[in-house]
Symmetry: C2
Subunit: 144 residues, 2 copies
DNA sequence: TGCTTGTTGAAAACGATTTTCATTGTCGGA
DNA sequence: TCCGACAATGAAAATCGTTTTCAACAAGCA
């Protein structure tokens, strides 16, 4: 997605027989405002600012639709809850997670070799990957 | 761990005030026999071959202890269940997951730059990372 | 052997996510 | 512009993996 204008997303949804509703607009805006890797609960809280009646279930359903339509991506840190990123054109990005305060930072460069090399030894055709980095942010870093 | 002999693991557990029990032995053997990235349910089923009375709860508790003591590592594929790998000396490994049949293969080489470079732009101190590759295994690969 | 404490199993509790179902609202077409 | 088909919604209940509770048990040191 190049620019995640509501119109652009609406068009993408409509293309699949889906509809753009006030609720989805609110979730989309929350997603854009919150930055990357937020969980459903957080997104729900934020989206309620725009549409107070919004239910958490609808947030889950909306995120599911967004993921299916390529509007958002799920992210997993292994703490038992799914986070979501708004998709952006020009590819994926990864995350740095602070093990102390939980802060999350984006990593735009991907230092991995091209997909086709990654699975070659095992004969796999790699189509996607997921990389998360864990450590300590500047604020929490053990001052050496 | 160099060689995951029961004795070696027992020693490591005892070192932390833990005890080696029949149940833990069964889980350890199941873990070794099953290969990498298996979920608790699968490990439970396998371990029951050695100790039929084994409860699923005990498997969870044992895996938790193994992870805390560095005997095993948790792995997340994002399908809402945790998988476990026996730890091995000489470092971590990653996985190739077949999106069609679910087959899992190990990737021993890590093509990532050294940790200290990865978080530098954001000022993070990276201490660990997690990389999973998704795609299609030789059997499921779309023959080009 | 005896005792201290970690461990176990079954049942119940949990928390995130999904489903059910009746109601509401979007949007393509008349 | 109005209509109607059908996607979307909200609340409550259901799922599902995992964790906690609690009384009975057993590993390993004295």
């Amino acid at each position: 997605m190049k620019g995640n204008g509501v119109e652009r997303v609406a068009a993408r949804l409509r293309h699949r027989g889906r509809r753009m509703t006030v609720q989805r607009r609110a979730v989309l805006e929350a997603l854009a405002a919150l930055g990357c890797a937020r969980d459903a609960e957080t997104i729900h809280a934020r989206a309620r600012a725009a549409y107070p009646k919004l239910g958490l279930v609808t947030v889950y359903r909306t995120l599911e639709a967004f993921v299916a339509d390529g509007v958002a991506h799920p992210v997993f840190f292994g703490d038992g809850r799914v986070r979501y990123d708004l998709s952006e054109d020009g590819g994926h990005h990864h995350h740095l997670v602070c093990l102390s305060c939980g802060r999350i930072a984006r990593v735009d460069e991907c230092h991995l070799p091209p997909s086709r090399r990654l699975g070659r030894p095992q004969g796999f055709t790699v189509t996607a990957h997921r990389l998360e980095l864990f450590g300590y942010c500047p604020r929490c870093a053990p001052k050496a």
